[in-house]
Each structure stands twice: as C-alpha cells, then as structure tokens.
Symmetry: C2
C-alpha cells in the first residue's frame, strides 16, 4: 500500500498529550512513590472500566455534570467516560455486597470536558489520577485521619515538605453556618458551590453569583460573607466556633464540631496536624460528600490575578490579545493568569454514595485523589526554575552485544550475536545488538552510548576461536586498568556477565549510601540525569551518586556532537 | 443527602468487567511477566491518549472499522476511542520526526464494539493489551526475528511451553499467490480478508463469501482453494513454493520468499523456529500490514464447531434456545460454540503507516500485541481444569499493630497505636491497625489473619510502662518457643521489626531456593495461594515454598469458620 499524506493536522485531541522520554520517567517515578505509600497503609488495587452506564454518573457531580464525556449512541447501552474513580468505586461496592471493608487504590485516567490548560496540568484527559479510599464501618474519624496522614506522606515523599497546605472543612459545619445565616434547605448545595469559588474569585463575585444567579436573599449573602466563611485556622478556629452560642445550638454544627475535635486529636497522635488549615471557605463542588472534605494546595494553585482584576487592568492582557476567557472553549488557557493550577489532591467522606446504588446497604467511605498531571507540572516547573533538565536513559539495557572485525571477509557475526543474545535473555540479562548484518564497531558503540548501556560484549573471530569474548565496562577513565576490557570464557559468559552486573550494582549502592541519598523533588539521583543549563558538562542530579548509568550517560552527552564515539577502538 | 435506591440495573456496561481480588493478582502477574521480557529486549514505554481524532483512525482497519467506538459530538473535535495501540504509535512517530528508531512497549486498554463473550476474554473494552514495536531502518528481518523471539519468551515465561503455535505468513507471498491465481489488483485485500476467515469457517463458506459477496470469478476462487492457501509447514513449504516455476516468476512472491528465507535463518540462530508454523491461510484483516504477519494460537483459539456445522446440528443448540448468532448484538456469546477464544497475540510489519500520517517521512515498523484478557481467560480455565482456586492476600502489610487490655479502665491505646504506626510508616514498614477506639484483641487478630499479615505488634499498658512491646510472628506451631511472641524495646521498635522482617524474608528465600521454584502457568507459588477443591485444607500452590504469607494465610482459611481466631489470647 503506497503511503498517502494525510490531509488533516496530525495531532492529539485538544487537552490530551503523549507521554514519553524524560516526562514518562518522572511520571512513573511519581506513580511509584505514591503507590508505595498506599501499599504501606495496606492498600489493594482494583480496576474498573473506562466507561460506565450514563445513568451511573447522572446526578453525582453538581454543576460539573456538564463536563462529562458521552459515547456516541451507536445502538445498545448509553455510556459515558468516567469522570472520577469514586463513583465507579461506589458502584463496585454496591455490586459486591460481600465486600464490607476495603482499602483500595486505583491509578487511572479520568475524563472531563474542561477548557484545557495543558502546561498547568489541566487536561481534558486528566492523564492520570491516583485514588485511595477506605471503605467500612469504623469508629469516627480514625480512617479520615489516616487519609490526612497519607496525604502528608505522599507529598513529603515527593520532596514537597513545607510547600503544601491541606485545606480542611466538613460539610456538617458548612451547612450549619449556612442554616444559622438563614439559607433555606434547598439552597444549601448551590450556595455551597458558590462559596467553593472563593479561592478563585473575590467575595464580591461570589456574592453576585449567590444573589443574581441563584436568587439568595442579599441580606443572607452578606451575613455569610461577613461572618464565618472567610476564616481559617486550626484548633483555635474550632474553639471560636464552639464558643459561639448561636452556632453551638445548631444540630449540624454540633456534629461537625464533635467530628473535628476528634479528628484533630487523632491527627495530633499521628503528628499530622502541622499541614492542616481548617478553612471555612472550602466547600467542594461535587454532591456526594457528607462529612470531612479537604483539598491540597501549593504554590501556583491559586490564580495569579482574579478575573475582575484582569478586567480592570487591560494592560496586563497577553500580547496574543486573548482575554482571560477566550471565545473558543477548546483553546488552551495555559497563559491565562486568572487560571491557577488548582488543587493537587482532593477528597472527603462520602457515606451515602454506595447506598444510592444499592438501596439499603450502606458502606461508609472516605477517600483522596491525587492529580498526577498537576503534580507533574509543578515538579517540572520547579526543575526548570533550578535550570535543571532531565536526561533519562531510554531503556535499562545491561549489555550491548557487538561484532568486531572488518575487511572483505568480515561476516558480521550475526549468527553469533543472535545466539549470545538468546543466551543472555534466557539468563534474564537485558541485552541488545545492532540490527545490521555487517555493523561497524563505531556505530555499535554509538548505539550503546546513546542508551547509556553500562557494558559492551565484543565478539571477534579470533577470540571466539579461542573460546573467549571481550567484556568492557563503558565510561571507565582512560587510565583505568580495565579500560580495554577483559577476555572472558565464551562458555560461561552468562555467569561472567551476571557477576560483573552484580558487582557494579553493589559498588554503586555502597557509593550511594556513602554519599547519602539526595532527593530533588522526589526524583532521586539514580533515576534521572540532570544537566545544568549554564554548564556545558552534564552532571548527574546527585553528582556524588555513581549510579550504574551515570558515567556512560554523561560520556555520551559529551560526545554526541562527535562523529566517532570515544570508546570505539579502530576496527 | 439521604440515599435513594437507583431505579436501574447496577452493573458495568456490556462487554466490560471490574478486576479485583485473585483475578487482579493473576492479571498483574501476567503484566509484569510480559513487561519483564520487553525490558530485557530494550523496550521503553510511552503513553498516548485513550481517544484520538476520528480522522486518525479512519481507513486503517478494513472491514473492522465498523467496530470503532465514537465519542458523542458535544461540540469541538470529533474523537474515537483507540481501536489498537499501533495506529496511535504511528501517529506519535509522525508527530515526532526526531525519533527515527525506538523499541516501545505500551500496556493499555483498547476499545472494540464487538459482540462480547466475556468468559472467553472477548471484551468490548479489551481490558488490556500489551504492545511491543520496533521502529527504525535496519537490515531486513532482524527486528522481525527478534519479535518472534519475544513471543516465545513471553509464552514460555507464562508457563505455556509446548502449547502454542505462531502462525506466520507474509503479505508479499499471499499477494503473489493471489496474483498468480488471477485475482485482480483491487480485489487483493477483500480476497485476503475472506481467506483470513479460514480458521473460523470451512473453505466452502469462504469461497461463498469471495464469489457471492465480493464478486470474485468462481474459477479463480477454486484455484486459490485448491492450490496453495490451505498449506502449512516450515522451511519445507518455503522450498515447495520456491520450486514452483509459476510462483517463482512473480515479483511479489520472489521478495516474500527471499524475506522468509532470511527470517527462518535468523530464527534458527535465535533457536526460535520450533514454534513457528508457516501458514499460507493467515492473512490478518487490518489494512496496514506490508510484510511478515503472525498470530499466536493455542488450545481453545479455534471454535469448537463451525457455524455451518452448528446449523446442520440443531440438537447441539444450547438449552437457552439461542442460536449461534443471537439477534441481540449486545448479548454475551460466551456459550456460543462457533466462537473460539481466537488468537492470543498478533502482529506484523507495517512499513507505510507512519508515512500515511507524515507524508514523506517513512519509519518502518514491526510489532506484536498480546491480548491479556484472552491469556487471562485461558490461564483461569487451566487452573479450573486442575481444580485449583486462587486465594491471594488482600494486601502486603507486614505488621498489624494491636492494643491488649480490657475492663472499664482500658483506654484502647489509640494514641499509642497511632504513634507506633506513624513510626513504622516513616521507616517504610507496611502497617495497619483496627479503626476502633477500644478494639477487642480477638477482633484485631481476626483482621490480621484475614489479610495474612505475618507479624503482630501488641501494645499493653504494663509493657509500655516498662518501655517494651510484644512482637509475635503469626502462624507458628503451637509448640514453637516463640509462639507467645517476644518483648522488644519500644524505643527501637522500628529496628526490631525491620530485623525480623529481613530475617523472615531471607529464611523464606532459602526455603524457596531449596525447594526449587515451581511455576504453574506463570503464577509462582509466592504470589498466590491455591486450594484444591476436593480437599478441605487449603494448601499453597507450591506446598514446599514457605513464602512469607503462606502459613498465616492458610491458617486464616482454616479458621474463617470459627468465631474466635485461634491465635488470640484471651483478653
């Protein structure tokens, strides 16, 4: 079939992206860091389908329901792409009545037809979320406190210590305040949705939404704004609420305050209170939360300027003449100053969601979701601020199998290279060779160096005739006694290679321990290579860390400009 | 918000399923087994979005294009769920012109609106596929041979040695035979699609499709059927083709035969020829293949009976009075005898697909995809045939932190349990405790035993006053000297626990090495527990393997019927 050029733009759909190279390495590292925390707390993983029956998702997400992606009606059932992993989890528990308690985690993509801002990690295909939930009937606030603990462990493990805040509130206190201020019962959720926007817009705009759009009595709106919802604190704020007679008389307030009292006590046991900000403006948009709610924010979460500020300061408009709200809903809003990264994790208690599916059977749940794209964007931004770029290895290959020789009688040793690779693969050793019948030695060294492969195994007709092959560690100093490699037995080559790999691993590990394990924003020195942009010589992220790959990778980086790899002997 | 019972069926969409428990453990094991092989061969992973622009997928899949899932038109771009990971990979290469060679792998779900047969692993949401592709300009057939090698390694690693066949052909030979038989050029692909069905229906039905549906001259159809396409072999068949003067004169045949000659030679180097069946009936439906094509079949791949047999034998109809083709396209066809599991892996060379997107730039590719659902279904069926059921641990927790005490003064030690867990988590130790303020000791032991947790750490007021806590290994024999546990220092408890975990791991490892590592269909003894259904006592899959979890897990299974866990002292 002859190739025909496509007549349309070759790209990914708006708000989505491909992950590869260094980004993939960083993302995988974020995944494994977080799942390690989940496993430490007894998590088990389940996997639900990417689409659900449309009815399952209906009525769960409040004002955001309009962001749900539907599948086309091609006959049969009507389905929608999942919007989060919470509703599918509740559906799963409702279907599996024998499961009355579980700690589950789930890494997966969720789908929201939001206006994208890709560089801020706001995707349509939220490339990945990590959800952790604890389901089961337990004494109050103990699982809730462990979730807060997990949040701290996750961000501390990512190297964010001291740079994040867990905003925390409960639906019961929020509803109590609204009731005391005089909000009618059917208005509780709409008013709550408006208050939730206080992190993105000033009180005047929120008040406007309540009064003009939602028809709340202006006097009640003013009472809400002037009284409680703007307050933040910890136990001091709780004590202030408890001291207020009007509030303390409200039933919902009473329950909420008792809950928080217990929660704060357990969080003190866990030594996990220092990151918590009890924030009465936190409301969370979705409908299904029933108790404690929380949201993790960090530098960059809030917008640089508010929408009304942006409107008042036309000079601040971008040179592209795009207002903060572009007319094209598909346009990428990465440069929009009225849009922050938003929260990097969020969750809460949802005791009634399973019952919405199962009828009678209730399974109380509390959970948290981590927005990996946003965490990734912040990690990248911080690395860029440090003028650091990441140069990961393309793969983890241990050894590159090469043929040495030349001239008209040179066979290329394809048979021998194939057989040696087969033996290495069978021994569990990661091996590659160049897919050429008669490869040149420099080309083979170049391929090995480009991937930072730590060892080369060089086959030559003469050595093979003597039952030998040459093994050479890449990246040795020019005066190293083994710079030219060693002859080893062809018969035992698997063992010989394995011994050297093990030894190298041990030596690297000792060096690393001696140097201490430096972690830059959760990415450890042995995972990625960092070069400072104001220096011509790339250095590993942890210069003292002689990881199994750092030396050859650095050499390659130095040499990519040269035609002939420095390691290649003339053939 | 009060729970309201849903008024519709709570279920997953047809052709999809939730993965959890033992199934999840088996599936994860299949994933890691296969990705280990990919990494051994230098694979690197990329991740592309779950949906692509509709235009990207158009015109790539031949007759199967009707199975593509579209997203609803909600404004903006028109998108479809990916049908495979090959076309998105080609789109990725076309967008990233600096990447001229890569070995990539990708685990992900793909989506096909096929009639589902869930128990045979035929899903709509093919829950997961593993793709491996080698892209780049290389000498002929070397990467193609390595893919065959990888197929062998994957299925051998899964414990399928001797039970699978790699059916192999090339488009060039197939087209050459059709040309020699007189098939006009525009009919090559339609005729090829018909021939591809020879594994599902007898020649008469295929002939009928060619002549009646596709309008092929009956004489040409007969020539195809009587001549070559029914033949199978290895090098012998290639030599037979080479010996035929009429075939050898055809240009496409010549190229195809030279390719296979070289491929078979390299496969012999790789010691990978024994599983290959050169099968002239293999055609593969999709349009984008240009060279070697292959498909892996195993017992159960082919249908038990053909559709025409089923029609001729009405007595064989199922008691549900469903014919082999149900009127409802959504109905599950798991019981349909005319439907086999199909191939468990398939792929081929596609040299022009990247060029279809990029115009000029060509990147030749060859790849393979493994159908994890089908591999999973066969694994499960084989385990069932051996009357084996799988009882995995719910999680990997190392130690369960308990409070010992009772009476009216018992505080429950929630503070101490929280603090101890925090210390253990900070030390990287996987720990749990019961979410009760005043838990009873038997309930705590029961929770630990249900998850097969290997150690218990028991806090008591008296011991704490002396700076001590009790650690107890679960599952020790009743006469074991440490059956009642040991008192260790509270101050150094992290170290004390870590030492015991390390020691247990070492002992288990030695026992395992001594016993040899028995693998049942790729699932190792330490991963899952198997109980034989005709015995009341569950035994670990590898009875000689004293894995870190087997003993307690077995005890739990023995004891779940009892009210009081056997390990719990009276409190």
């Amino acid at each position: 079939m002859a190739p025909k050029a496509a007549k349309f733009d070759i790209k990914t759909p708006k708000g989505t992206k491909d992950w590869d190279g260094a980004d993939m390495v960083i993302r995988e590292k974020i995944f494994s860091t977080i799942t390690d925390v989940f496993k430490r707390h007894g998590g088990t993983t389940i996997d639900t389908p990417v689409f659900e029956l449309k009815e399952i998702l209906a009525g769960k997400y409040g004002e955001d329901s309009k962001l749900i992606y539907d599948l086309a009606d091609q006959g049969g059932e009507l389905c929608s792409l999942r919007y989060d992993l919470t509703v599918p989890f509740a559906r799963y528990l409702a279907m599996n009545k024998d499961i009355t308690s579980i700690k589950r985690y789930h890494i997966a993509k969720v789908y929201r037809r939001d206006q994208p801002a890709v560089s801020k990690g706001r995707m349509r295909e939220f490339v990945s979320c990590l959800f952790f939930d604890i389901a089961g009937v337990y004494d109050p606030m103990i699982p809730d406190a462990e979730i807060i603990c997990i949040i701290n462990e996750v961000f501390d493990s990512l190297g964010w210590k001291g740079t994040y805040t867990i905003k925390l509130n409960t639906r019961k206190i929020l509803d109590g305040i609204f009731q005391v201020c005089g909000v009618p019962e059917p208005m509780l959720r709409p008013v709550s949705s408006a208050v939730d926007k206080l992190d993105k817009m000033p009180w005047e705009d929120v008040r406007k939404e309540m009064v003009d759009e939602k028809g709340l009595d202006p006097a009640i709106a003013d009472k809400i704004g002037e009284s409680w919802v703007v307050l933040k604190g910890q136990r001091d704020l709780l004590e202030k609420l408890q001291a207020d007679e009007e509030l303390s008389a409200n039933e919902s307030m009473k329950q909420g305050m008792a809950d928080l009292d217990q929660l704060f006590t357990i969080l003190e046991y866990f030594d996990a209170m220092h990151t918590v900000s009890f924030d009465l403006s936190l409301a969370r948009g979705v409908f299904y939360y029933t108790g404690v709610i929380y949201e993790v924010v960090t530098e960059g979460s809030a917008p640089a300027v508010s929408a009304s500020q942006a409107a008042a300061e036309p000079a601040a408009k971008s040179s592209k003449k795009k207002g903060p709200k572009s007319a094209d809903p598909d346009a990428d809003r990465s440069d929009d100053p009225t849009l922050g990264i938003g929260s990097v994790a969020a969750g809460g208690r949802y005791d009634n969601l399973v019952g919405m599916f199962s009828g009678k059977t209730q399974v109380p749940c509390v959970g948290i979701s981590f927005g990996i794209d946003r965490i990734f964007s912040i990690t990248k931004a911080r690395m860029a601020a440090q003028k650091a770029t990441v140069k990961p290895r393309k793969n983890d290959v241990d050894i590159f199998v090469m043929a040495f020789g030349g001239g008209k009688d040179f066979t290329g040793l394809l048979k021998e290279r194939s057989q040696v690779c087969t033996r290495l693969w069978n021994a569990g050793i990661k091996a590659e060779f160049l897919y050429k019948v008669k490869p040149k030695l420099p080309a083979q060294f170049k391929a090995a160096e480009q991937n930072g492969v730590p060892f080369a195994l060089i086959l030559g007709e003469d050595e093979l005739a003597q039952g030998k092959v040459r093994i050479k560690e890449m990246g040795l100093a020019s005066d190293h006694p083994l710079k030219e490699g060693e002859l080893i037995s062809f018969e035992n080559l698997e063992d010989e290679v394995q011994q050297r790999l093990t030894l190298k691993k041990q030596l690297d590990s000792i060096t690393r321990e001696a140097a201490g394990l430096r972690v830059v924003h959760g990415i450890k020195g042995e995972d990625v290579q960092v070069s400072t942009s104001d220096s011509t010589t790339p250095v590993p992220m942890n210069a003292a860390t002689s990881s199994s790959t750092s030396a050859p990778a650095a050499e390659v980086a130095e040499r990519t400009a040269e035609e002939k790899p420095a390691e290649a002997p003339s053939s």
